[in-house]
Every structure is written in C-alpha cells, then in structure tokens.
C-alpha cells in the first residue's frame, strides 16, 4: 500500500513554468539572452525539484497535492506523482533544459525570442501538469493545453504559410482527439463513479466488465492515437516540422507525441488486457510502425526523415502496449525513454546542419564530416542507437521488442507469425533510413553550392547533443546500473504486485531476438545499397503508396466541412433578413414555452382571483386600446403611435401604484417621460411615409405574411396572458421576500425595502447595472459622433414659417427676431421650474432610503429638468448659459459608488458592506446616516450623466443637421452663425 505524503513540491513544479512563461512574455522583443536564462533556470529548478522527490517515489510512495475546486461535485485539483509520473516529468524537465540551451544558440536574434521561450515554458508546464494530474478532467484540461501551446510553437514563424498550415493541422487533429479524450474520461468517470485517478486505476476489473467499456476505450484511444501520431492520424506530424528545430526536438522526442503513449501506459491497469485493446492498439501500432519506417526511407528532408522515423518508433511503442503483456509495458516505457534521448539528439543534429549549411535537403548535403567532424560523430552514434546497433540504448529496447513480438498473446496463428516478421522488417527499414541520414549528410564528396560554408556550431549549442549521446552510450553499455532502478520504480507504480521479471542485460546469449537483430541489420544495409540508385534520382514521396496521401484527404475534408458544407447550410438555412430570423426566434420561444407547459402541466392555481375592480378595468380598457392602437398606427402615424405608447406606459404606471409598488410607479413615470422625449427627437430623421402608393408585391403575399405574424402575435399574447394568470393564482414563494422584509430596517437601516435591496442587499447588482447604463450611454455618444444624420424629413412648423415671412416683409424687423420669442411663456415657466425640479430630485434622493425615491428616480428627475430646458430653450440657448458635463457626472457617479463599496474594506468587511447610524445634529435632531446613501448618490450622479449624455448627444444632431443645411440655404430661423458650444468631449 503506497503511503500518500502531501507535498508542496508539486504545485511548484507545475506552476513555475507557467509563471515564467508570463514573465518571458513581457520581456522586450530582443531579450534573447534574458529569456533563455529565465527558461533555463526554470527548467533546471524543475529538474532539481523532481529529483528531490525521487526518494519518496522510489520507496513506492506517492506525492499528492490537493486543492478543493468544486467540492460539491467531488472534483478537486489533484497533483499526484508516482514513479511513472516521476519518470515522465523528469524527462520533460531534463530534455526541456537541454532544449533551452540549444535554442539559445539556434534562434536568430532577429526573431522575437522571448515569445518563443514563453510558449516553450507554458508548454513545459502543461506537459508537466498533464503527467502529474491526479484527476481525469484535469488531465484532459492539461492535455488540451499541450495541444494549444504546441499549436503556438509550431506556428511560431507564422509569416510562412507552411508554419501556419502545419500548426493548424496539428491543432485540428490533436485538439479533436483531445475532445474525444475528454468525452472518454467523462464516460470512464461515470463508470467508476469518481474522477480521481487512484480510484480509476484501482477499478480495472469493474471497468472492463462494464457495458460502456468499449465506448470509453475508443474515445480515450482516439485521444491517445491522434496525439501520438498513429496511423491514420499520423499526417500532422511531418507537417509540424515547419516549427523551429528546438520545438521539433522537444515536441517529437520527449513530450507532445509521448503524451499519447503516456496516457495509454497510465490507463494500462484500467483499460488494457482485453481483445478490443489488443486489436485497436496493436493494429494501429503495427501499421504505423511499418508505414512510418517505410516512408522515412524516401524522405529527402532530414527533419522529414526524422519525423517519419518518430512516427514509426511511436508505432513500435504503441504495438508493445497493445500486446497486453507486462513485459511489453516494460519494453514500451524503456523504449519511450531511449527514443526520447536519441531522437532529441538527432533532431538537434539536423538543426545544427540546417543552421550551419542553410539546407536540410539530403540531395544537396554531402561529405559534411570533413567540415563538422564532431557533430558528425555525435549524429552517427545517435543514428546507430536509432537503428538498434548493439551497445547503444536503442538496441536494448529493440531486443525486448523482438522477444515480445515472438510471444504475442493471440490465438490467431497468422497474426502470431506476422508480428515477428513485421518487427524485423520495420527494424531493417530503420537501419536503412538511419544509414541514409548519416551517409547522405556526412559522407560522399564535398558539398557544392550550399547557402553557407559549413563549420562546427558554437560548442554550447553542441553541448546538449553531447549529453544525450553520452546517455545513449552509457545506458547502452550499463543499462541495469544506470536506468534500471528508475525504470523499475516507474513500472512498479503502474503494475504494483504484477510487475514481471525482466532483465536489462546487454548479452542474453545467442537467442532468437539477437538473430532477428542481426537479420535486420544486414537486411537494412542491403536494402540501402539496393535503393541507392532510386534514392539518387531524388523522386519525391515513397514508391507504391505515394497516392495514399492522408494530408490530401484531410485537406479535402476540411474544405468540405468549413467551406462547401457551411455554404450549403447557410444557403439552405440562413437568411440575412431580420424578419424571418425574428419570426423563427419567436416561434422557437413559443414552442419552448409550450413544451414546458406540456411537460409540467398548467392546471388551475390554488388561489381564487380577487373580484375585478371596475376602476382598474376601465383604466386597462384604455391601456389595451392604446397598445393595440400603437401597434396599428406605428407605420404611417408615428407621432400618434408614440402618444398611444405613452398612454400604455402610464397605465402600466398606474398598475404599479395600484398594487403597492410606489417606487416602480415613480421610475416608470420618469422613464416614460425621458423615453418619449428621446423618440420624439428621433422622429425628424425618419422618412415620410404615406398610405398611398403601389404595393411592391402582390397583395396576397402581404396578406399571408400579415396573417402569419398576427397568428404569432396572438399566440404569444395568449400564452403570456395564460402564464401570467397561472402565476398570479398561485401562492408566491416567500423565501427572499421574508428575508428582505425582516432585515431591511434592522440590518439595512431603511424602511423603504425596495431601496434597501437596491443599494444594500443587492448593491453589487446595482453597481453592475449602473455600469451597464454608463456603457450604453457612452456607446450612444460614440455612435452619434460618427453618424451623419439623414436629411430632416420635417419642415419648420407653420407658425415659425409665418413669423419668418413677417420678418422678411417688414424692413424694420431683422431676420429671425420674431421667431426668437417662440414659446416665450412656456420657456419662462420652465426656467423658473428648473431649480424647483432639482430640489424635488434632491428630496427624492435623500428620502429614498425610507420612502419612495432613491438614486435612479432622483437622477431621472434631474435629467428631466435639464431636458426641459433643452426642449424649450433650444440647444444653443441653453448651452450658452449652462455647462453640462454628462461624462463627468457619469465618471464621478461610478467613482462614488465604487469607493463607497471599497470603503468597507477599510473596516475589514467585504466589498459593498453598508453601515448605518443615527447622527445627533443641532436643529435637525436625529438624522439617519447610512453609507448606502453615498452609494445612492453615486447612482444618482451616474443616472443624470447617462440620461443627459444620450439626450444631449441626440439633440446635438439637430444642430449639426442645421449646420449642414445652413451652408446651402440662407434664412434659417436659428440665431446668427456662431460656433455651437461643444458638448464636453465632442469634437
């Protein structure tokens, strides 16, 4: 029984790379050294931290770090490190450190290198998070993060189409796989009843017997196989070679593609051991192994060759996992490690060649060992490890693979015989392409016509390769003494008691696997010699299966999905016209409502309706008539419709008074006034419309449309009426009501419960609400600044025309003199009323906490006072005399409201906690004083600002309209041309 030991080490291991990624993202674009130093330091610290954890996991312990995430659902953020996770985390961090060093020299100073390291670190963090996840959902999350950051890394040189396409393809394939994995782990979690990895791994028997096992298995394997580039999803990997070489070396050796392998090994105890596992995983593995190795031989790009070889080796590991044998698992994990070391070093060597010669094309490269002897030797050793030459690490895992292939646990004789043959064949292929890599690049005559003169790279750039190659050799010679204990720890943490006997010896005697190795080596060399002539021709693509291009299929599918299918669907289902859209939306809404009624039923309520009051009935008879009238007249008689709408609003307002909602009535009344003014202001720019004229289409269509709309309207109306009646004849829930009523005075210090709710209990909502109001006002303001109004559609009023004519006819009168006295008496009255209305506004504000009123109402009242002046006096007259700065009002209002909320922090209370007390003032007596009042003052100021900003901005359009008109036409009724005083902030 492994003991769990919570350790704060784990969040550090995962968190550090992410934190450093953010820091690196903020470095200056050319801070190559600083970014590399940061990334390197983080990688080294991670290696050290992981190393520190070794004693615990070596003893069979598990490091565990838990944070509650959604405890109600039993979901926690769990980091968990056992031997296997330790091994992979170590690989990720250690190879990451080497990659950083290499990238420091590989990346050109002209590139934005900090961005590169930022992505690389974030990727390292995601990968570490993935291997250390102790929760399935969290694992899927980090899995998707690795897809995302690998996308960013592959597309790092996004100015090239190749990088963009490669990145997009990788993301499409791996993220789609990731979604499958997510669905898979959800099913798995459902089977087990928990998303905790420990629980899942312990319930293997239960999972395999469950009817949903196959669903979960296929979904999870889709995730793993896409990530590990297994056939038929392998095509994204070669295209990901458009990435900078350090990225390829990292992603395709130790990390990204190994994630799939990791996942399969991780879930081995839970999912493996069935026929389905053998067939799916084994088939994918063996196909990928052979195809990858075969295609790799015919690649002319060094990185392309390595890419297909990676695919092939991943196939080998997958096949080993698919064999359902414990020793197979050991071999798979061992080969994953070995592959990481030799493949990373080969990628780096290819990068060095590219960096120093300017090309990676084997057809152009030749004889480089004379120019870079040291690099050549390193590459040769690594390639020999890849080919499985004895005394190197690749040989050991390949021997184990051969041994396992001979023991494939299947009843089908044919398959039983085919697997060893396939293994030897693929092995021979790998010898061939390794030879091609070395012979093509380093031997032969001196290269001609290279973009650069080849030479040895800086020694620090070669250093990571040296380390890795050294590891290949040491492990190859002394496996049991070097990696033996680590491998053992990793395997034990997966298999526990079931860990098999295996031997990590170089020499197993003259056994069958050794014979197979020899055959493969000789066969590979022979094949290379035989293919010389074909390869020298330099034909693109592998013979026989050249037409089988998965990429083309992928591209066609993408074009079909994202273009043809989308266009067809848009053509069939879409419309750019608003009316059909709204019609559809309303129908769907009505249908949804009806479904709800159908499911739950809408029987009679438990309350008996009160007898109707004739007065209210009369009021609503008017209201209903007005509503219908507004609907009827809105097209040709806009003003009449607007007045009717106003009446309907007033009737609503009366209803609020009737049913004990004085605050609502006040607000509704004021909003009604302001809205009507607003709409009136807008009327002048709408086109004239008369009821005459030839209809543009046959009457029958119009009639049909009208009837449909009428039916929808009637259904909506009847539905809402029924619903409202049903709601009203049921006892309302009283939970919140009771709560607010009981506490409004005792805890909020106000008797007007609605206001106390707004400024105190639900103050945060109100803060959001006034912010929205401010945003809308700013949007209106911004839109109107850009907007050129249409020509006025309304002439001057008849009276004004008469007055102008009078001025023109009488020489003693100057033009516009009479008209300036227009509406003299009303304007005098409103001017006198201005301070009075403001006093009312302040009164409403101050009493709001205890009696109907409050910030919203008061703000609207004050805005009405201002608007009246505009209406009567005209925009220019009023702005000559009064400076209104709505933007400031809004800003100050929002500031006051927020500051009041923040002030609660000073007293150690949560945001927006209110405080109240009673203050003894001379003369006034006891005055209630609540901090909520200040909040309400903020609301007040913002509402004034927002309402006036919108109305004034609209009013200014008329001034601008006049200015345009003035240029063309003389004798406007406006005062002599003068720069209109600018609204605060207007251009």
């Amino acid at each position: 029984m492994p003991q769990t030991m919570p350790d704060a080490l784990l969040p550090l291991v995962v968190g550090l790379p992410f934190a450093a990624a953010i820091v690196a993202g903020f470095l200056s674009t050319h801070a190559r050294g600083a970014a590399a130093l940061l990334a390197g330091a983080v990688a080294v610290v991670d290696v050290v931290l992981i190393w520190v954890a070794y004693p615990t996991v070596a003893g069979g312990g598990v490091l565990l770090f838990e944070l509650e995430w959604m405890p109600a659902l039993g979901l926690n953020f769990v980091l968990r490190m056992d031997g296997f996770a330790w091994l992979f985390a170590g690989l990720v961090a250690a190879i990451g450190a080497l990659i950083v060093l290499y990238a420091r020299y590989y990346m050109s100073p002209e590139d934005p290198v900090p961005r590169f390291f930022s992505f690389l670190l974030a990727f390292m963090g995601s990968m570490t998070g993935m291997v250390l996840s102790g929760n399935l959902i969290q694992l899927a999350f980090f899995w998707e993060l690795t897809s995302l950051f690998s996308f960013l890394l592959i597309g790092y040189w996004y100015h090239t189409a190749q990088a963009r396409d490669g990145a997009r393809m990788a993301l499409t394939v791996t993220a789609a796989g990731g979604l499958c994995l997510f669905a898979g782990v959800l099913v798995l979690g459902h089977i087990v009843g928990s998303y905790e990895l420990d629980r899942v791994l312990a319930s293997g028997e239960h999972i395999r017997a469950h009817p949903l096992y196959l669903t979960a298995l296929i979904l999870i394997l889709l995730g793993a196989l896409t990530k590990s580039a297994q056939f038929p999803f392998h095509f994204w990997l070669p295209h990901a070679m458009a990435a900078p070489t350090p990225v390829s070396a990292y992603l395709h050796s130790a990390t990204l593609v190994k994630a799939g392998v990791f996942l399969m090994a991780r879930f081995w105890p839970a999912l493996a051991g069935t026929e389905a596992w053998f067939w799916i995983v084994g088939t994918a593995g063996v196909t990928t192994l052979l195809i990858g190795a075969y295609v790799a031989i015919f690649q002319h790009d060094l990185k392309g060759l390595l890419a297909y070889s990676t695919i092939s080796h991943l196939g080998l590991i997958t096949l080993l996992l698919g064999l359902n044998s414990e020793v197979g698992l050991v071999a798979a994990v061992f080969h994953a490690m070995n592959h990481a070391t030799f493949k990373a070093s080969l990628f780096m060597a290819a990068g060095i060649i590219d960096h120093e010669t300017g090309t990676r094309d084997i057809r152009r490269l030749s004889g480089l060992h004379r120019f870079m002897p040291f690099t050549a030797r390193l590459a040769m050793v690594a390639a020999a490890a890849m080919a499985g030459v004895p005394l190197l690490n690749g040989f050991l895992s390949k021997e184990m693979f051969f041994a396992e292939a001979l023991r494939a646990p299947t009843s089908h004789l044919l398959i039983h015989d085919l697997i060893p043959v396939g293994a030897v064949l693929a092995s021979a292929f790998s010898v061939t392409y390794s030879l091609r890599f070395i012979h093509g690049a380093f031997f032969g005559p001196d290269p001609v016509d290279l973009p650069r003169v080849p030479r040895e790279p800086p020694s620090w750039m070669r250093f990571p390769v040296e380390i890795l190659v050294l590891a290949c050799i040491i492990v190859g010679i002394l496996p049991a003494a070097t990696v033996g204990p680590f491998l053992d720890t990793a395997i034990r943490s997966i298999l526990g008691e079931a860990t098999p006997q295996y031997s990590l010896e170089v020499w197993h005697g003259l056994s069958q696997p050794l014979l197979m190795s020899v055959v493969a080596l000789i066969g590979g060399v022979a094949l290379y010699l035989a293919l010389q002539r074909h390869l020298l021709k330099g034909v693109e693509g592998a013979p026989l299966i050249r037409r089988l291009d998965a990429r083309r299929i992928f591209d066609r599918t993408m074009v079909f999905l994202s273009w043809r299918l989308a266009r067809t669907l848009e053509g069939v289902l879409g419309t750019r016209r608003l009316q059909p859209q709204l019609r559809l939306m309303l129908c769907v809404a009505a249908l949804a409502g009806l479904c709800a009624v159908y499911v739950r039923g809408l029987g009679p309520g438990n309350l008996f309706p009160a007898p109707p009051d004739p007065a209210l009935a009369l009021v609503w008879a008017v209201g209903i008539a007005c509503a219908i009238g507004a609907a009827w007249k809105a097209k040709f008689h806009r003003l009449a419709a607007l007045i009717l709408l106003g009446v309907a609003g007033l009737v609503t307002c009366v209803t609020f008074v009737w049913f004990s909602a004085p605050d609502l009535a006040l607000t509704q009344l004021l909003v009604e006034v302001v809205t009507t003014v607003l709409l009136l202001l807008g009327l002048r720019w709408l086109p004239k419309r008369f009821e005459v004229g030839r209809p543009p289409e046959p009457r029958v269509y119009t009639l049909a449309r009208h009837l449909t709309d009428l039916a929808i309207a009637v259904i909506a109306g009847v539905g809402m009426a029924a619903l409202a009646f049903a709601v009203m004849t049921r006892t309302p829930p009283e939970l919140l009501a009771q709560h607010f009523l009981a506490r409004a005075y005792t805890e909020g210090g106000g008797t007007n419960v609605v206001n106390v709710i707004l400024v105190d209990f639900r103050g945060f909502d109100t803060l959001g609400e006034i912010t929205v109001l401010g945003v809308v006002a700013l949007t209106v303001f911004a839109l109107l600044r850009r907007f050129r109004p249409a020509a006025d559609s309304i002439e001057l009023p008849e009276q004004q025309r008469d007055q102008l004519a009078y001025d023109a006819a009488h020489p003693r009168q100057t033009d516009g003199e009479t008209v300036s006295d227009w509406l003299l008496v009303p304007s005098l009255i409103t001017r006198v009323l201005f301070p009075v209305i403001w006093v009312i506004a302040l009164f409403l504000l101050l009493r709001g906490h205890d009696l109907p009123g409050g910030g919203f109402v008061a703000g609207l009242t004050a805005a009405v006072a201002l608007i009246l002046q505009y209406l009567i006096g005209g925009t220019r007259w009023i702005e000559d005399r009064l400076t209104v700065q709505p933007l400031r009002w809004m800003g100050i209002g929002l500031l006051i409201a927020t500051t009041t909320g923040l002030a609660a922090w000073l007293f150690g209370r949560p945001f927006l906690t209110s405080y109240f007390d009673y203050l003894e003032l001379p003369l006034f007596g006891t005055v209630p004083l609540a901090s909520a009042l200040f909040f309400d003052i903020g609301v007040f100021a913002l509402v004034i600002g927002a309402a006036t900003l919108m109305l004034i901005a609209l009013a200014h359009q008329s001034v601008r309209g006049h200015r345009v008109a003035q240029a063309s036409e003389e004798g406007q009724p406006t005062p002599p041309p003068r720069q209109a005083p600018a609204l605060a902030g207007e251009d």
């Binding site: 609003g649 909003v671 607003l678 709409l679 086109p687 543009p696 009501a737 409004a744 009696l851």
Partner: protein, 114 residues
C-alpha cells in the same frame, strides 16, 4: 383582478410581438417598448397582487410578508425599467445611424424590392 392584469400583459405582448415582426425600425422600437412593459408587469406580478401594502416599513420594526408586498420583484423590475430605457436609447441611435447610412428605415437596411 388577476384576470385584468393577465389580459393586459397578453395584449401588450401581442401588440409588441406584432410590431417586432414589422419591417420598419420605428415599429420595432415601439414593439420592444411594449414588450418591456409586458415583461416588467409579468415579473412584478410574480410577487402576487397586493393592494395597500407598499413595502415601506414602520420605523424600528422588522416587516413580514403578512403586512407588506414582496419587495424582491419590485427591486428587479426597477432596474429593468432603467435598463430598458437604456436599450431603447441605444436602439434608437442605431436606427438613426442605419437610416443615415443606408437611406432607408427598413430593418434590413434596404427595401424589400431592391
């Protein structure tokens, strides 16, 4: 009593929906206003219809639902009224801008027969 208010909500909704489906922007804006009356009334009625029970407490006491109307829907509707004013204003300005840009007040920015 409940019947009258339900009928009112129904008619306001119906008229609003009808206007919402019309082709002219001004009709749509009036329709939205009517619908907002209806919705506000509806939310308000979820607290039940009470006369003479405004939620203004006697100073110094804790209220109870027996004596006062439910203040929660009222608080909700109060902010809803203000926000619906803001959206009406926004929509009006969009309407005017569209009219200035396209030269028509059709909701699609162009006449049906064009």
């Amino acid at each position: 009593m409940e019947g009258i208010v339900a009928l009112a909500i129904g008619v306001l909704t119906g008229s609003g929906v009808w206007l919402l489906l019309r082709p002219r922007t001004f009709q749509v804006i009036l329709g939205l206003s009517l619908i907002s009356y209806a919705v506000n009334l509806f939310i308000f009625t979820t607290g039940g219809l009470r006369t003479g029970a405004a939620p203004i407490l006697e100073p110094g006491t804790a209220g109870s639902l027996a004596d006062y109307a439910d203040p929660t829907p009222q608080a909700l509707v109060l902010t809803a009224i203000v926000i619906s004013f803001a959206t009406t204003a926004l929509f009006l300005v969009v309407l005017l801008a569209a009219r200035g840009l396209t030269g028509t007040d059709h909701v699609d920015g162009r006449e049906r027969n064009q």
